[in-house]
C-alpha cells in the first residue's frame, strides 16, 4: 500500500510499504477513504517530538471502510463506514470505564517509555511517535486499528466524509477545550491560535453559550475564518493582546483562556525569541509563548484550557500568576469516544458544518507538498484533507 512516511525533520515521503494485517483478536483493518494532516503532525514534521524513528507512518485523523475484523470484534463488519478516534482505548480499564479514554491504561505498548517521562502513560495514539505506542498511522491506504470494538464509530449514509472526518480529532478537541471552560452566561472566552483546533474552539464556545469569543493569531486568513465563525479577532502582529482583551471585557479580562497553539508558539516578545533559541539548541522542548500570555491575560479565578499539545518541559511558565489568581487548569488529550455521538448529532442538525475549515483537498501522493504549505502557512493553507 501507499503511506506517508516520516524520514526526519522536514523529510516525509510517500512510499509503498507492506499492507497491515490483523494481529490481535480485537483488531480491524480499515481502508482509508479520507485522512487529514493535523497541526500536531507539524510537531513531528518539525522534529520537536522525541522518539520518532525514520520509517514511521504518520497520520491520526482518518476514516474509511472496514475491510476485515478480528475474531473478537462483533459490532463491526466488512463494508461498515467508520470514523476512527485518534486515541486508542481498550474500553475495560479504570480510565475507559470513566470516559477518560485518552488515559487508557492498556493501549500503549511503550507505556514504560511514557512513564519515565510523565510518571504514568497516556493512551496509545495512531502515528504519533513511539512514546505513544509507535502505531502506524492513517495517512495511508490501510490501517490496523486495535480495540476496534471500542473506537471506530459508524457514520450514517447521509453524511459525507468531509462532514464527519474531523470527528476523529479536531472537532472533539476544540469542543472538549470549550467544554472544559465551564462556560457561564455572559462569559468571554479568548482563544490563542486560529489553526483548525482553534477554529473549532471558537465555534464550540459559541455553541456552548459564550457571550463573546476573542480569537488571537497573526495569520490574516486564519483571523478571517475566525471572524466568519463569530469571533472578535486580535491580530497579535500589530495589536497589544493584553490591552485589547482588557478593553473587550470592560477591564475584567477573559473568563476563560484557551491555548490552542501548543509547543511551537511563535510570538513578538522577548520570551518568544528566547524560546526559539533554546528549542533550537534542545535546551527546552517546547515554546510556550501562547501559554504564558494566556495565563497572564486570564481573569482572577478564571479557567485556563489547554488543548494545544505540549511535549515535555516548557520553560518559564508564570506559575506565580497561575497560583495567585487562582486559575483552574483543564487539559488533556481528547476523550474522543465521549463526543462522537453528540457531535455527530450537531452536524446532522446543521448546528455546525465542519467543512468550513477545509482549504485544500489533495491526493495522498501530494502529502509531502501539503506538509510543506501547511507548515509554512502558504497558499492560505489551514486544513488539508488527503485522499488515498
Amino acid at each position: 500500500m501507499k503511506a506517508l512516511v516520516w524520514c526526519g525533520k522536514h523529510k516525509v515521503s510517500v512510499e509503498t510499504v507492506p499492507d497491515p494485517t490483523i494481529i490481535n483478536p480485537r483488531d480491524a483493518i480499515i481502508r482509508v477513504t479520507t485522512t487529514c494532516i493535523c497541526g500536531s503532525d507539524l510537531h513531528l514534521y518539525d522534529g520537536f517530538m522525541p522518539t520518532m524513528k525514520a520509517g514511521d507512518i504518520l497520520g491520526h485523523e482518518f476514516m474509511g471502510i472496514v475491510e476485515e475484523v478480528g475474531p473478537a470484534v462483533h459490532n463491526l463488519k466488512k463494508g461498515d463506514r467508520v470514523v476512527v478516534p485518534f486515541t486508542i482505548a481498550c474500553g475495560n480499564c479504570f480510565y475507559c470505564k470513566r470516559q477518560l479514554w485518552s488515559s487508557c491504561d492498556n493501549s500503549n505498548p511503550n507505556a514504560w517509555m511514557a512513564e519515565k517521562m510523565m510518571g504514568y502513560s497516556p493512551s496509545g495514539l495512531f502515528g504519533y511517535s513511539h512514546l505513544t505506542g509507535g502505531y502506524a498511522g492513517g495517512q495511508a491506504e490501510y490501517v490496523r486499528v486495535p480495540f476496534a470494538d471500542v473506537g471506530p464509530f459508524k457514520i450514517p449514509e447521509d453524511l459525507t466524509d468531509e462532514q464527519v472526518v474531523f470527528l476523529t480529532d479536531i472537532f472533539p478537541t476544540g469542543y472538549m477545550a470549550a467544554e472544559n471552560c465551564n462556560i457561564q452566561q455572559g462569559d468571554t472566552v479568548a482563544v490563542w491560535g486560529c489553526g483548525p483546533v482553534g477554529q473549532f474552539c471558537i465555534r464550540s464556545a459559541l455553541l456552548l453559550g459564550a457571550k463573546q469569543v476573542v480569537a488571537i493569531d497573526d495569520v490574516p486568513e486564519r483571523l478571517h475564518m475566525a471572524q466568519e465563525g463569530g469571533a472578535v479577532t486580535i491580530d497579535m502582529s500589530d495589536e497589544q493582546v493584553y490591552e485589547r482583551l482588557l478593553d473587550l471585557t470592560g477591564g475584567r479580562g477573559p473568563d476563560s483562556c484557551i491555548d490552542a497553539v501548543g509547543a511551537e508558539a511563535h510570538g513578538m516578545t522577548v520570551d518568544a525569541a528566547l524560546d526559539k533559541i533554546k528549542t533550537t539548541l534542545f535546551l527546552s522542548t517546547d515554546r510556550a509563548h501562547a501559554l504564558r500570555q494566556a495565563i497572564n491575560c486570564c481573569r482572577k479565578g478564571g479557567t485556563l484550557s489547554v488543548p494545544g499539545v505540549y511535549i515535555g518541559f516548557p520553560d518559564k511558565l508564570p506559575f506565580g500568576a497561575l497560583m495567585n489568581k487562582g486559575l483552574t487548569v483543564k487539559t488533556g488529550q481528547t476523550h474522543v469516544m465521549k463526543y462522537l455521538k453528540p457531535l455527530t448529532e450537531l452536524i446532522r442538525k446543521k448546528q455546525i458544518d465542519p467543512r468550513f475549515v477545509i482549504t485544500h483537498e489533495l491526493p495522498l501522493e501530494q502529502a509531502p507538498h501539503a506538509y510543506e504549505i501547511f507548515q509554512k502557512k502558504q497558499e492560505g493553507c489551514i486544513k488539508v484533507v488527503l485522499k488515498p
Binding site: 512516511v5 524520514c7 515521503s13 490481535n24 483478536p25 480485537r26 496509545g124
Partner: protein
C-alpha cells in the same frame, strides 16, 4: 532461604517499593498493579501456572505436574534454556498464591502474588518475585535471563498480565513501516 508466605512483611522491610538488585543475591522484584477484574477471576487465571508464560516473557513453559508441583522452563541466551521444579507452598482461595523451587533445583526461585479487592478501583495485585542463581555456568545463564534491567522486564511482565486480564490481549504496534530509501525491510515491532 526465606519464603514469602506473607509478602506484606517483605514490603515493610523494603526501602523502595520497587527495590531491585541483581548481584550474587539474585533478582528481587516487587510491584503492584491494580487490575479492573474480580480477585476471583485473577486468582483463577494465575493459579493455573501454565498461564504464566502468556505474560511472563522470560518463561518458555510451565507444566503442572500435580496439585502442588510444577516444572518451569525459562529462556536463556543463545537458544538454551534453564529448567527447575517448583511447588506451591501457600494458597488462600482468591487471595494468595506463593511458590518456591524445590530443594536442589538448579535455580532457586520464589514468588508470591496477593489479590486485594478495593471496591470500585479493581483488585490490587501485589507480586514478589525472586530468582537466586547458583554459581557456575547455569548461574551465568540465569543472570542473563532478564537482560540489564531485570526489574523493568518483570514489571513489564506484570503490565502484560493487567493488559491480558483487562483488555483480553496484549497491545502491539507491530506493523508496516517505510524504508526511507534504505534497502532493509522495515516490517518490525517498534
Amino acid at each position: 532461604m526465606t519464603t514469602y508466605a506473607n509478602p506484606r512483611n517483605k514490603i515493610k522491610a523494603s526501602r523502595s517499593p520497587q527495590a531491585e538488585t541483581f548481584n550474587k543475591k539474585g533478582v528481587h522484584v516487587r510491584r503492584a498493579y491494580t487490575v479492573n477484574k474480580s480477585a476471583s477471576d485473577l486468582f483463577d487465571f494465575w493459579r493455573n501456572l501454565e498461564n504464566l508464560p502468556k505474560f511472563m516473557t522470560h518463561l518458555q513453559e510451565v507444566i503442572v505436574l500435580d496439585e502442588k508441583r510444577s516444572h518451569w522452563k525459562a529462556k536463556a541466551p543463545a537458544g538454551t534454556s534453564v529448567e527447575w521444579d517448583a511447588q506451591i507452598i501457600n494458597e488462600e482461595k482468591d487471595k494468595l498464591i506463593s511458590w518456591r523451587s524445590l530443594e536442589g533445583a538448579s535455580v532457586q526461585s520464589t514468588g508470591s502474588v496477593r489479590f486485594i479487592e478495593t471496591g470500585d478501583r479493581g483488585t490490587e495485585v501485589r507480586v514478589v518475585l525472586e530468582y537466586i542463581p547458583p554459581g557456575g555456568q547455569v548461574g551465568k545463564l540465569v543472570a542473563r535471563l532478564f537482560g540489564e534491567e531485570p526489574s523493568q522486564q518483570i514489571q513489564e511482565d506484570l503490565r502484560r498480565f493487567k493488559q491480558l486480564m483487562e483488555a483480553g490481549e496484549i497491545p502491539t504496534s507491530q506493523g508496516p513501516r517505510g524504508t526511507c530509501g534504505s534497502k532493509k525491510s522495515r516490517r518490525t515491532t517498534s
